[in-house]
Assembly symmetry: C2
Homo-oligomer: 230 residues x 2
DNA sequence: CTGGCTTTGTGAACGTGTGCACGAGTGCCT
DNA sequence: AGGCACTCGTGCACACGTTCACAAAGCCAG
């Protein structure tokens, strides 16, 4: 056994599943479960057991053959790998509907992502208080990012304002962005961007619905074959 | 059956990109652009040009060599393939922070997913009006789904209530679910589920942040293996 | 201590997705 | 009319992700 194998370079697909394992393991720990098999974890996570084992193997060999994984230790290792050993304050840009909901949603702070601040470009929104945080003007962004050591920015602006928000975030020193606006952001290579687009998700569901209905759309009685395009 | 149907079976990865192309094409159309090359579209979508061409080829050969794609026609074809030729009313379960934001966010209706209704299990929330829609009690869900012909349900409840919400949606006849709660839902195979988990997204960003910092820090003593006997 | 049972960790096969490179059409210009 | 510049559509090779299958490793009973 090499003392420290190259545990680096975890596949993207695995990284996106680790948070799911982490949440489940936390729940199990709360239930008093202190050991879990790859199969048990797989069932709870809704994935294949071999996938769980391979995913966890990227962290190192933390399981015990014939027994399973120690829940507490695994939680610790995953948290370590995901960088969740300390909080990551986030700044929200945009105090509209979504920004308000995000700020009001307590889940962020609980999970290690406290809202360091909310900013908006609209003067009329500045000063109001959302989820215990006062809305500040976007010009205060650089100062906010620096004093609170914020690395992660959340864009909750309308589409047209999103690129400007991104530019400001990057300029202020943020290096990761979670973007809720339906736009493709243009940012320097070094900036990590993740996008959450509700319309896209719904349209994907629409595709599958359309597919199910594909043969027999109830709304078109008597019409056989495909509709004639005008 | 029409032989035309054989061409169906679009890869998942492509399906998830079509909405992005669609949005961009719509914007271009509004700008008066009536023809676009795969390279132009690729740039706007932030992807590879060959990927765009391959993606669009699954819809059929709707481009013109030497010229590009007719924007209007492509919009029509993508909308058709995604099943966006008519509206898909959605029902939102959970009138908390997120449910309110979703209902208040007008973007749904605009993009063809009007909010047919919002339901909550909490009597005290029933009756209030969000985004022009009155909150109803969850017991009215089956009736709502049937009268408004809803196929898509959105779960915006706390985690503990999500599975129950899913069960009710399925029972009411919904066949696609967009889940915002951080739980793995258990539903019949035929039900399409998509999950949006903000904490997961943030944790993925955290991983990358940790990684960036990781190279410099690297100050973990005794990182080799775990203690032999517990 | 030995044998049997359980579960991990991983090599290998398979499937999906990506990107290059180039043939095949298409329109424009001379 | 013919050549040329341009761009699509796609075969192919490679990268990535998933799943199977099994040896290695640990635990327990007797």
């Amino acid at each position: 056994m090499a003392p420290d194998r190259n545990r680096r370079r975890i596949p993207d697909a695995t990284v996106s599943r680790l948070p799911v394992y982490l949440r489940i393991l936390g729940e199990q720990a709360d239930l008093g479960v202190d050991s879990i098999s790859s199969e048990g974890l797989a069932e709870l996570a809704g994935v294949n057991a071999a996938k769980v084992r391979k995913d966890l193997s990227y962290l190192g060999s933390y399981g015990t053959r014939g027994v399973g994984y120690d829940v507490g230790y695994l939680v610790y290792q995953i948290r370590r790998e995901l960088g969740l050993t300390h909080d990551w304050p986030v700044v929200i840009v945009g105090a509209g509907n979504l920004g308000q909901a995000l700020a009001g949603y307590g889940g962020f702070g609980e999970r290690g992502f406290p809202v360091a601040g909310i900013v908006d470009i609209d003067e009329s929104k500045v000063g109001s208080v959302l989820g215990g945080t006062r809305v500040r003007h976007i010009d205060e962004l650089p100062q906010l990012v620096q004093t609170k050591r914020v690395n992660i920015g959340v864009i909750a602006t309308p589409a047209v304002a999103a690129q400007d928000a991104a530019d400001r975030l990057v300029k202020a020193g943020v290096t990761s962005i979670l973007n809720f606006a339906p736009v493709v952001l243009s940012v320097p290579r070094a900036i990590e961007v993740r996008k959450v687009d509700l319309a896209v998700e719904l349209q994907i569901l629409s595709y599958h619905e359309q597919r199910k209905a594909g043969g027999a759309i109830h709304a078109v009685p008597g019409a056989n074959g495909r509709p004639v395009s005008a």
